[in-house]
Every structure is written in C-alpha cells, then in structure tokens.
C-alpha cells in the first residue's frame, strides 16, 4: 500500500516535471506528428495510400516517439538530475531506488503512448485515416504489454545512466538505429538478415508487432506471440536491471560519480 503510494507519487511528480520541459513535449507529441505526416505524403507519392498503410505508418511514427520518449525520460532525466544535484539525494533516500526508477520510467513511457494517441488523431483529422482494428479487444492488452516491456527496458537504460556521466551521448546514439532495427519505419523483412537477432531482443520490436498485429493483422497468433515476447523480455530486463542496479549503486558509492563536482 505504502509502496504503491510512493510509486504513484514518483510517477506523478516526474510526469509533471517532464511536461514542463519544452524539449520533452516536442519529442513526445510533435515529432511523431511530423514523422507521420512525412510518411503519409511518401505513401501518397508511392500510390499505396490505402487506409491500412496510413494506419501502419501512423502506428510506426507513434512508436518512434515512444522510443525517443523512453530514452529521454529515463536516461535524459537521470543526466538532468545529476546536473541539478538531486540524483545524490534520490539514490541516498531510505526508499528503494528501483521503486523511484520505476515510477520515473513508467511515467515517461505512458506519456509516450499518449503520443501514439495524438498521432492517430492527427491521421484521422488531416488524412481521413480510418480507425479500424482487426482485434479491437486485444488492442488494449497489446498496448499494456508494449508499455510493460518498454518500461522495463527504460529502467535498464536508466540504470546505466546512473553510473556513467556521459551516458547521455550513448542515449542519443541509440535513438535512430533502434527506429530502424525494431522495424518501426520499415518492415523487418526488408532489413538484412544479420540484424534480426538484434531486433528480437529489443522491446520496441515486439511492442510494435503486438500493436500492429492487433490493429492490422490477419491472424491473432502474431500479436499474441508478440505480447508473450513483450512479457518475457520485460521480466528479463527487470531482472537484469535489478542485478545491474546493485552493482551500479555500489560502484557509484565507491567512485563518487553521483554528483558533478
């Protein structure tokens, strides 16, 4: 009960903080719209402008936004806290730090998924995109699984950011490649074969598959399998981040990396 209250308070506080950052709002809500618009026009040029392809592109653009948000809201927030001098205080609070990280991370990820919503709305209003779903009842569960796995991955990323002062650069580096490797822009089938194993261990891949499968798929097996993979990956990420966090917190105390001075 107390823990729930705590995680909720952390989530709420950090969500508020994120919404006060222009950069974050731009990343989460505006960038996906721009990508979606570009994609819509490209599809129009290619002559493949069916409702289905529009939805495919809109979901992909939305997911790109979710990924950027995850990186920024997890990793970037840690870098920011280090800069502000609050990281030391958070890590040294009598509360378990993984609860704090979880609240921060899921707050960001859930905001990211709002970005998908605005992208869809944009498509409907400006491009007359039809809002249909092959498996409407499955869709909320697919979304939930995607949030879960992205959140867990976000925690893992945030953990490394606690340790490395310059992890921010790494975070920026992770943004665009993952868009490609996770099949957000173009179908995975078009990527070289050796990229596949990489795609398979990434949450955005399966999250995307689950959502697109529930919205556009023909058989229910694909999204169900993707959802299962989301849950499996979430568990693995979580276990890894717990292990990493123990090490990171120990190392931070040994090497005095939590503050800037």
């Amino acid at each position: 009960m107390r823990t729930l209250h705590l995680v909720w308070a952390v989530t709420w506080f950090n969500t508020k903080m994120l919404l006060m950052s222009e950069f974050f709002v731009l990343t989460t809500f505006i960038t996906p719209l721009i990508f979606a618009t570009l994609a819509f026009f490209l599809f129009q040029l290619g002559g493949g402008q069916s409702g289905q392809t529009l939805l495919y592109a809109a979901l992909g653009s939305g997911m790109m936004g979710v990924w950027s948000t995850t990186l920024f809201g997890c990793g970037g927030a840690i870098a920011w806290q280090r800069w502000e001098g609050t990281l030391e205080l958070l890590v040294n609070a009598p509360t378990r730090y993984d609860f704090i990280l979880a609240g921060q991370t899921f707050g960001a990820v859930i905001l990211g998924f709002y970005g998908i919503g605005t992208t869809l709305l944009w498509g409907v209003i400006l491009f007359g995109m039809p809002l249909t779903a092959s498996f409407p009842l499955l869709l909320p569960f697919a979304l939930f699984c995607a949030v879960l796995s992205l959140g867990a991955l976000g925690m893992l990323i945030a953990t490394t950011f606690v340790l490395y002062r310059h992890a921010n650069a790494l975070g920026n580096l992770l943004e665009y490649p993952i868009w490609l490797i996770a099949g957000l822009l173009v179908p995975l089938a078009t990527l070289p074969f050796w990229v596949r194993p990489l795609s398979w261990v990434l949450a955005p891949t399966w999250g995307m598959d689950a959502i697109r499968g529930a919205a556009l798929g023909r058989d229910i097996g694909t999204p169900l399998f993707a959802m299962l993979m989301c849950v499996v990956l979430a568990v693995i990420y979580y276990v890894l981040s717990r292990i990493a966090l123990r090490y990171v917190l120990y190392k931070a105390r040994r090497e005095a990396t939590l503050s800037l001075q």
Partner: protein, 350 residues
C-alpha cells in the same frame, strides 16, 4: 598544545550516535585530456571521532581538509577506502537503509532542488521519498516551512528563489522525516546575518529536541557559540579535538596585537615573524588596509617594539586583545600542515 588524540580505534564509547574509526577515503581522478594520468587524492587519511547522542559536534578545517568527504562517508553516500563508521549503531557500509532512515543532511549551496516546481512540491516529493506517512506530510511540511521562515513564498517556483531561500528549503528538506542525527555541511553559507542567526537558533532547537548534530562551518564564532565539542581537521587528519575552551587554552596565555597597516611589505612582515617574542603572524586583507594579527606570549608590552620593526610602514589603529577560538584555529592550522592542495595531490600513481 598536544593534538588531542581521539578515542583509540576499536573501543567506541557505548551508544554513541556517530562513531568514525580510522576513516580513509581516496579519490581517483585523471590529469590531462589525452594522456590521462591517474592520480590518487587522499582526501581523508585516518579520521576517528565519536559524537555522543544529543551532542552538537563541530568539524572545522580549511578548504579541502576533508570535511565534506567525511560527512559523505557517514551518510552512506561514499564508501570509505578503509576504516569503519556507525551511525546510531548501524554500519554505514552494510546497513545503509537503517542509517538513511535515521539521518538528515543539508549541504551548503543551492544545488539539489527541482527548480521548475514550487518549494512546497519539492518538500512534498522528498517527504514521500523519506517515508513520511502521507497523512502527516502536509502538517509536517507546513511546520518546517514556518520554522525556516519560507511560508509566504513556499508556493512559488524554486527557480525564483534566492540563494538563502534555497538554503532554507534544504534545511526543511533535511528535517522532513524527523531524523535522529542531522549532518549540516556549511548550512549558513549564503544566508544573510539575520538568517544565519535564525539558523543557529534552529540548530540549538534541534539539540534541545534531543537530536545529535554534526556541523561544519568556516565561521569560528558560530562553532564557538553552538558546539559542545569541536574537532579540527587539516589535510585529512584530525589535529585537535575538544571543547571550544580546550582549543582556546592552547593559546590562552597569548596576546593578540592587531595592527592596521597600509601598504605593508612582505619584508616587514617577515621581520615581525623573526622576532623571538612573536609566535605567529597572520594577515587579513581589508578594503584599504591590511590587518596584522601578531600572537605573542609577552602581553601588550612588545607593541612598541613591533611598531619599530615595521619601520616606515604607515600604521592605523592598534588593538591588543585576548585570543579567540579563531586565533587558536589559525595557529593550529599553521602548525599542522600547509593546507595546500598541491601537497595533497603529491601521491601520484601512474
């Protein structure tokens, strides 16, 4: 005065609130950008002391002496390189959660706050993180805000707060969970004189309420007025420990002659230092003048001779007075090390 040796290691007094035994902390940093040479900075080199429950303990020392590093080890933020420490009986390396529940700490300076939200929201968030019962949070925060005198401005965003206001907010933050032991690292930095006096009242109030306080400060009168016991740390080592009176007794039979001078030359100061009756000479820069603080065992009678030694230096006011804690401190630091940063980084290991 012989440097008072702290309690022997391994025999901490029963029930002390804070016990530090042979604490050592080395930082590893790099020199240069391309060919990064590793150097070890020995910030704390074997510090031992004990603070009884309910005591107000002062840690004094020049910049870079190792005060903050010592505190960071005690509040579980840094691991000691060697040595051990306990707070309320809990080991600062192993029992971190138990220690953290019982301590509050405030670092001087204006970092460590969320600028984009209000002071109240900052406190609310930390109250949650410090495990304050949600039902009691508002009441507790309001009381603390009142105590640090921020009530009229607390709903404003912190980015608009002055340094002193931020410092007050930090003090409220450090006391949110009603900790048994409070660490204050230069808490009066950035406060105006009235604020600093109020802070001293607050600190006294904490001790009256039965809390144990460890305080660092650069203001001797603050330490003298507040602390039950004082340890002076220089170059990572404790060079003296005792009550303010103990420390002063080392210079008790001395007289301080304060000579206001205008454009005094280093040569002239050296001539004073070389005089056989002079124990120490320190200088203080003022706007237009330099004050020479001459310590001697001979009382006021050497004043005339000192003036003679200064030659044709223009001289203003001359005052003879009793030594203060500050004089004792300056004397101690002068005798126990250079206080020089360079001396510390001497241990270069490639």
């Amino acid at each position: 005065m012989p440097a008072t040796q702290p309690q022997p290691a391994g025999a901490p007094p029963k029930g002390a609130a804070i016990e530090a035994i042979d604490l050592v902390r080395t930082y590893r940093t790099h020199l240069g950008v391309l060919r990064r040479k590793k150097i070890d900075v020995e910030a704390v080199r074997g510090v031992s002391f004990a603070v009884e429950r309910g005591q107000l303990f002062g840690l004094l020392g020049p910049n870079g002496a190792g005060k903050t590093t010592t505190i960071k080890m005690l509040i579980t933020l840094l691991l000691p390189t060697s040595g051990t420490a306990r707070v309320m009986g809990f080991d600062v390396v192993r029992d971190t959660t138990e220690v953290r529940k019982r301590i509050g700490y405030v670092f001087g300076g204006d970092r460590g706050l969320y600028d984009r939200v209000s002071g109240w929201d900052n406190l609310k968030y930390f109250a949650e993180l410090y495990g304050v019962d949600p039902a009691l949070q508002d009441q507790r925060i309001a009381a603390l805000v009142e105590m640090v005198g921020l009530t009229p401005r607390i709903k404003e965003k912190v980015e608009g707060f002055s340094r002193g206001m931020r410092q007050r907010l930090h003090i409220a933050r450090g006391l949110l969970h009603d900790p048994e032991v409070v660490f204050l690292d230069e808490p009066s930095i950035g406060l105006d004189p009235v604020g600093a006096r109020e802070l001293r009242q607050t600190v006294k109030g904490l001790v009256d309420a039965g809390k144990t306080v460890l305080l660092t400060t650069h203001y001797m009168f603050e330490a003298d007025a507040l602390c039950d016991r004082i340890a002076v740390i220089n170059d990572g080592r404790i060079v003296a420990e005792g009550t303010g009176a103990d420390l002063k007794s080392a210079v008790a039979n001395r007289t301080i002659v304060e000579i206001e001078t205008f454009g005094v030359t280093p040569d002239a100061v050296e001539r004073l230092r070389d005089d056989s009756d002079v124990v120490a000479v320190n200088t203080e820069e003022r706007d237009q003048s330099e004050i020479l603080l001459v310590q001697s065992d001979k009382g006021a009678q050497i004043t005339q001779r000192l003036m003679g030694l200064l030659g044709d230096t223009r001289i203003g006011k001359v005052v003879t007075r009793e030594p203060t804690l500050e004089d004792a401190y300056i004397d101690l630091i002068a005798r126990t090390g250079s206080g020089d940063e360079a001396a510390r980084a001497a241990s270069v290991s490639v």
